[in-house]
């Protein structure tokens, strides 16, 4: 990469701070809407890190898919289920918090120790293909990763159909074009919410 090392370090520090503080805000803030918008900021900063790593195509894909699709989907879900409710207090919440926090800190220290003590066999930076990475990704996708690429398309189709079936509410009783009654056997009927008070 042709940017000076000082600029790279400044960019990296700023992006990392935005990522970590934003992620803490996502899990700690009271308001779920603020969390969703902070999550968008975290995704954008991760795309910035990808740019620092010479990967412009993946950075663009990150912005398009995560910020443009996943984050918007999450905001829509919040809009649909945003009900003010008083959560029931849990009696052993404090011990749960202590146990989960200690587990996370232990895992973090373990991972950081591995990161710092392991000797990574780094390759020669002269071999780096740099800005031609998009071409190389295209070659990979249509040669040695062709089967995963096709399976991913089938996976996306299945996820789309599954999401539609799961989120569908109810349908009309008559077919719009023919006027015949619709077969209701396979269709979820509108009903009272089940199991609401069963705890």
């Amino acid at each position: 990469m042709s940017i000076a090392i000082t600029t790279q370090i400044i960019c990296f520090t700023v992006l990392s701070l935005v990522i970590l503080i934003g992620a803490l805000g996502v899990v700690l803030l009271e308001s779920i809407v603020y969390s969703a918008f902070l999550l968008g900021g975290v995704f954008m900063s991760v795309a910035g890190l990808y740019l620092l790593l010479n990967a412009s195509f993946v950075a663009a894909a990150q912005v398009l898919v995560y910020v443009g699709a996943v984050n918007v989907l999450i905001i829509f879900a919040i809009m649909l289920v945003n009900k003010k409710e008083d959560l029931k207090p849990i009696n052993d919440i404090k011990s749960r918090r202590i146990i989960s926090t200690s587990i996370c800190l232990t895992l973090l220290s373990l991972l950081i120790r591995v990161d710092l003590t392991n000797v990574w066999s780094l390759s020669n930076p002269q071999n780096s293909i740099g800005e031609e990475s998009t071409i190389r990704i295209g070659e990979h996708l249509f040669s040695d990763y062709l089967l995963p690429f096709e399976v991913a398309s089938v996976l996306l189709l299945m996820a789309m159909i599954g999401a539609i079936v799961l989120a569908r509410r109810d349908v009309m009783s008559k077919d719009i074009s023919t006027g015949l009654p619709v077969d209701q056997e396979l269709i979820e009927k509108s009903s009272e919410p089940l199991l609401t008070n069963k705890n």
Binding site: M1, I5, Q8, F12, S16, A23, L24, V26, V27, A36, L39, V42, F43, L53, N54, A55, V58, A61, Y66, V70, L73, I74, F76, A77, L80, V81, K83, E85, K88, R97, S100, I103, C104, L108, L111, I112, D115, L116, W120, S128, I129, I137, H140, L141, Y145, P148, A152, L155, L156, M158, A159, M160, G162, A163, L166, A167, P193, L195, T196, N199
Partner: protein, 107 residues
């Protein structure tokens, strides 16, 4: 530390580890089901940063890590769509998003 011309790989790995642990903490401690899905997205992003760092520093000629990142992004998009559809269906049946009230599978 490889050379003075670039950021050490350890910096990327530490950021990714911290992001992953924040994601796990949020997954374990959130009461709101939407926040649980957001924590899963954070963890997937941590894994992606890891893959991208190794792709750029260890395998910078073949960049297979970037291809893996593309696939992880694809699966994450599918996961978010199906997860939010399940969440909507759950909300329709139990009229809450509190994780503590989803106890149908409790023995």
């Amino acid at each position: 530390m490889m050379n003075l011309q670039s950021i050490p790989i350890q910096a990327f790995l530490i950021v990714s580890s911290a992001l992953f642990c924040i994601g796990i903490w949020g997954l374990l401690n959130s009461r709101n089901a939407v926040r649980v899905l957001m924590s899963i997205e954070l963890m997937l992003n941590a894994v992606n940063i890891n893959l991208m760092a190794f792709s750029s520093y260890v395998d910078n000629n073949l960049i297979q890590g970037q291809v893996f990142t593309i696939f992880v992004i694809t699966v994450a998009a599918a996961e978010a769509a199906v997860g939010l559809a399940i969440l909507l269906s759950l909300y329709r049946n139990r009229v809450t998003v509190d994780m503590e009230s989803f106890n149908l599978l409790k023995w």
